[in-house]
């Protein structure tokens, strides 16, 4: 069943860029966040994060804004209720305090592209975009992602088909288990830097381990994806 929100979220890149600057509805916040930093090298968001309001009990009406850092709501058995978007689609979930973001995505919500290789923050296979940052879902508490915007490789793949094609064309996958983590990381790089140099690619992908040893072809694939996306 195709979700309405999901359909809306799948904005084409071109369309988005045309509308850049226009505040989108809540359902498409994810998409906006994924693409909003295109073409800029600057990281500015950390400088001015302030909290203006806490979340009301009615989490479904929460509008995710940069200035808002919603708190989880305690429910029965010490579980925490949070609301967030994954690949542009809104989710509410209750989690245990000990639950990692990886567990929430992979086990609770069924996002199987979020893999676990080392589960101790040493490999990059569980990478997701969290408000645009490539972070390790195995080292992130699920309860902390309330109000945040999450992207996994299958969501990114729909938004950045050029990246997926470049990865297939260059055979960046062998066993393929670590590949989604590379996709997430490469997407984070491309959205910050539309035309990265070889060294910038190597540095950005440095936290992704691939036991099959596919490293050399990733560099080529990211270059190709960047140029297919117009170096924006």
């Amino acid at each position: 069943m195709k979700d309405k929100d999901e359909e809306k979220a799948v904005l084409s890149r071109r369309q988005f860029l045309k509308d850049a600057g226009i505040v989108l509805g809540t359902s498409a916040v994810g998409s906006a966040a994924l693409l909003s930093a295109c073409g800029t090298n600057e990281i500015t968001k950390t400088d001015t994060v302030t909290k203006t309001s806490t979340v009301t009990k009615n989490v479904t009406t929460t509008v995710v804004e940069k200035e808002t850092l919603p708190l989880p709501i305690e429910t029965e058995n010490g579980r925490l209720l949070i609301s967030f978007t994954v690949n542009g689609k809104k989710f509410d979930a209750t989690v245990e305090p000990r639950e990692t973001l990886h567990h929430l995505l992979h086990e609770q919500l069924g996002f199987k592209s979020v893999k676990t290789f080392c589960s101790r923050g040493g490999c990059g296979s569980c990478s997701v975009l969290l408000d645009g940052r490539p972070v390790l879902s195995c080292m992130t508490f699920a309860s902390s992602v309330g109000g945040k915007d999450i992207w996994t490789s299958d969501g990114i793949g729909k938004e950045m088909p050029e990246l997926i094609e470049a990865y297939i064309d260059n055979e960046c996958m062998q066993c393929g288990y670590c590949t989604p983590g590379f996709i997430v990381t490469a997407a984070a790089l491309l959205k910050r830097n539309g035309n990265p140099s070889t060294d910038e690619i190597r540095e950005a992908l440095a936290g992704n381990l691939c036991r099959c040893g596919t490293y050399p072809v990733h560099i080529k694939a990211v270059h190709e994806a960047a140029s297919a996306m117009g170096g924006k």
């Binding site: 893999k115 055979e171 062998q174 066993c175 190597r202 050399p216």
Partner: protein, 803 residues
């Protein structure tokens, strides 16, 4: 270069879009560990925390009280009394290798013989977190027992004995018959050599570090069990699981979805991480009437199974100033797993890369292989690491000793069983095989691509403006062109003329889906798009002994070719029954099939599409749906200590294809850090089937091999015998930043063993690469470091000693 053997291929040799590419890039590809069935239980088994210890007392009361704990199965639980797991001995394929190993392994013992051995207790709970929490709450009083980590210590008289009263063993009971070999007269040859010297060698114990951890989910369908496993041997796992559960093998179905990094280690069905956890999941699922997932966390995965044993020893070399190697005497000590599991290591040690590849006439090998308190293991690309390493180190040593170019030393000593290359290629000629000197071709290509002649310099002679020393390294060996596997392949023709390759398999990431489809398209004569190779579970009609693993393309290409010949005949037979005007008066031999059309060779323009023929094979009871054909190939030699591999139609053959590699490094004399700047892999792959995948295998192998040489090792505490680095932070595999550029050159001698002469790639590169780093570091700083991995501590101390 013009190639006299080049076939006029239509599909082989071209790059096609990887069939598994989209799924893997998007992340929608599902692996065994991704599968959690609804209402599933989770199970975790305890591992021994010490090198050798016995449970004196175990208190599980705290664990029992944790909410969500469903069951606790202790070593003294009557439900598992006298339960044993299958041993290699019972396995038809490996039995011939394991005459010394006959015990069945206790399922859940109260004594552990190495840090990480599965034992003691199983926790069954509603989630993985609860399993971990409850396991942590189990209180055990341990009796710590003597242990030994070094194989050389293990064979000493006063060593703790692992198997008292074991008659089949030699020495003190810890030693496993290793390999002894002698050829020519080593002592005489040493006397006649210009120089004789001895080098220490060591290879660390390493782990395969597959990206996906071993995990198994079992679910019962009535009396039958379905197993979802991360394994390379679905068929073997079904055999073991059936035996362990007291079922018939036909009641067990093992499904292997995509597999996250297998590299041979996941062919280790005998290990607890395969048959043991499968048994647990199946047993728990049956008792609780719910699916069960048995998981191993990363630390336990590291601690419970290694992939290559620790080896140390020395090599005595006798050589002349021109680089000619007269004699090699090797003494290795290899650490071994406890028995009950298949032996690896000893049978594959040391010398055979000299006999297979060189004209060295005097060779002696003494291998001591002993049980230690290190975990058991299988292979990580591949078991020949020690032999390959020894050859690489000797080539390097001789070159540096006399100030020679190592590529010249290689060419000078290249040969076969003590004879020169002419002898080798005369054998090829006798069998009608290509006679091109593979090593010469590889070196020529590689030198050019790498710029060797302008980069090679005397040891320690080039310091760069950044303060680092520049070095280049070279290594060579044969290409993996063995034909070790027994395989069967089925081809089935569908109603629309498309073809499925049939056989149980799992996906190793070598792009076999695409590659084998190309081979089948070529062999049958239909377009690539009309062939597919999809996963089959352990009940699939054809059993591929080593599906996609070692030299998969060699065995499978032959199997596919045989099946294709039969399929073509069947198609022609069918075509002739249709009374079509195009085939009037023809017999089978008159017909041909190309690009999907059947035609008379004498009238190629009057053609019929294969779909028109296939469509007539209707699913009537008397007629099969489509036509299926089985290609069988059974060529393997059980004489392991003197391995030679079979010709397609029987008999044994030497290896004709070679490979060589070039590396450029910078070594920082202040910090001992190595910066690998440039790697060129040159592999004689025989025939290129899928160019990008071939190159991918070459780089991939190189990255893995460099890891062994550069940073990977198990680190033990010698006082307590425990592993200190069982995680991806401290066990350091190569990253994107550990090298700068990698290139691969593919040579095609058409002489690597498979159909049209195609051969294996990734495994061999990974195996022989490690020695190259010793060669390059020596060229950079002028110091010989032959005990790997070459971490900064070794470089710093070697430089200090030099001063």
């Amino acid at each position: 270069m013009a190639d006299e053997y080049k076939d006029d291929f239509l599909y082989v040799g071209k790059d096609y879009r990887r069939k598994d590419g989209p799924e893997k890039a998007m992340g929608t590809a599902i692996y065994a560990s991704d599968i959690t069935l609804p209402n599933s239980l989770f199970a975790k088994v305890m591992t021994c925390p010490w090198a050798h210890a016995k449970i004196k007392k175990m208190d599980t009361s705290k664990a029992e009280k944790i909410e969500g704990v469903v069951d606790i199965i202790r070593y003294d639980d009557p439900r598992i009394k006298d339960t044993k797991l299958m041993s290699s001995w019972n396995h038809p394929f490996t039995a011939y290798l394991t005459e010394n190993v006959e015990e069945l392994k206790d399922f859940l013992p109260s004594e552990g013989f190495y840090d990480g051995e599965e034992m003691g207790v199983i926790i069954v709970a509603e989630s993985e977190d609860i399993c971990e929490e409850a396991m942590n709450a189990v209180e055990v009083e341990w009796e710590q027992l003597p242990f030994v980590l070094d194989p050389e210590d293990s064979i000493k008289k006063d060593a703790p004995i692992y198997y008292p009263g074991r008659e089949t063993m030699i020495g003190n009971g810890n030693e496993i018959p290793g390999c002894e070999f002698s050829m020519g007269d080593v002592d005489k040859a040493f006397k006649e050599s210009d120089e004789v010297w001895t080098v220490p060698v060591a290879e660390p114990m390493i782990n395969w570090v597959g990206a996906e951890m071993p995990q198994v989910t079992c679910n019962w369908e009535g009396e039958d069990v379905v197993v979802y496993a991360h394994t390379q041997q679905p068929y073997d796992l079904s055999l073991y699981t059936a035996a362990n559960l007291g079922l018939k093998q036909c009641q067990v179905k093992v499904i292997t979805p995509y597999s996250g990094g297998t590299f041979g280690e996941r062919a280790f069905v005998q290990h607890f991480n395969d048959q043991g956890i499968t048994y647990i999941a199946a047993m728990v699922a049956k008792q609780h009437k719910r699916p069960c997932k048995c998981f191993i966390n990363r630390a336990d995965q590291f601690r419970s199974a290694r992939s290559q044993c620790y080896m140390h020893g020395e090599i005595k070399i006798g050589a002349n100033k021109n680089g000619k190697i007269n004699a090699v005497s090797i003494k290795n000590f290899t650490s071994h797993q406890r028995a009950g599991l298949w032996i690896t290591g000893s049978a594959y040690s040391g010398y055979d890369h000299f006999t297979d590849n060189t004209c060295v006439q005097n060779i002696k090998m003494e291998d001591h292989c002993a049980v230690t308190s290190q975990p058991p293991g299988w292979w990580f690309r591949c078991e020949q690491n020690i032999g390959s390493y020894n050859l690489g180190i000797v080539n390097s040593e001789v070159a540096h000793k006399f100030g020679l170019d190592p590529t010249d030393v290689a060419i000078l000593n290249n040969g076969y069983e003590g004879h020169d290359v002419d002898y080798l290629y005369n054998i090829a000629k006798e069998h009608g095989l290509p006679t091109r000197d593979s090593l010469k071709a590889c070196i020529e290509t590689g030198k050019k691509a790498f710029g060797w002649d302008s980069k090679f310099h005397a040891d320690g002679a080039k310091k760069l403006p950044n303060g680092r020393y520049h070095g280049v390294g070279f290594i060579w060996d044969h290409a993996w062109n063995d034909n070790v596997n027994t395989i069967t392949v089925g081809l089935s023709l569908n109603q629309d003329g498309s073809v499925n390759i049939l056989g149980q398999r799992d996906d190793l990431g070598t792009n076999d889906k695409t590659t084998y489809s190309q081979i089948a398209a070529e062999c049958i004569g239909i377009p690539y798009e009309m062939v597919n190779y999809r996963c089959g579970d352990s009940t699939a009609p054809f059993q591929l002994k080593n599906p996609g693993g070692s030299m998969g393309v060699i065995s499978q290409s032959r199997g596919i070719m045989r099946a294709a010949k039969k399929l073509r005949t069947a198609i022609f037979d069918k075509a002739l029954t249709l009374n079509l005007p195009e085939f009037k008066d023809a017999v089978v031999d008159d017909l041909d099939l190309k690009e999907g059309y059947v035609f008379k060779k004498s009238a190629p323009n009057a053609k019929v599409h294969i779909s028109d023929i296939a469509a007539t094979c209707l699913p009537y009871a008397t007629q099969p749906w489509g036509i299926s054909c089985k290609g069988v190939i059974m060529v393997y030699d059980t004489n392991v200590t003197k391995r030679k591999w079979g010709y397609p139609d029987g008999g044994t053959r030497p290896r004709f294809a070679r490979q060589c590699h070039f590396i450029e490094v910078e070594v920082d004399p202040d910090t001992g850090e190595i910066f690998m700047t440039n790697i060129n892999n040159v592999v004689d792959v025989g025939v290129v089937i899928s160019p990008k995948s071939c190159r991918g295998q070459a780089y991939g192998g190189a990255m893995q091999g460099l890891g062994r040489a550069y940073s990977e090792e198990y680190i033990y505490d010698k006082t307590y015998g425990v592993i200190l680095n069982p995680d991806l932070q401290e066990y350091k595999i190569v990253t994107m930043l550990d090298f700068e550029t990698a290139e691969a050159e593919l040579e095609e001698s058409h002489n690597a063993g498979g159909e049209w002469g195609c051969g294996g790639i990734g495994e061999d590169v990974a195996t022989l690469i490690p020695a190259i780093l010793s060669d390059a570091v020596r060229n950079a700083i002028g110091v010989s470091i032959t005990e790997q991995p070459i971490t900064p501590d070794k470089i710093i101390m070697a430089l200090k000693d030099k001063k």
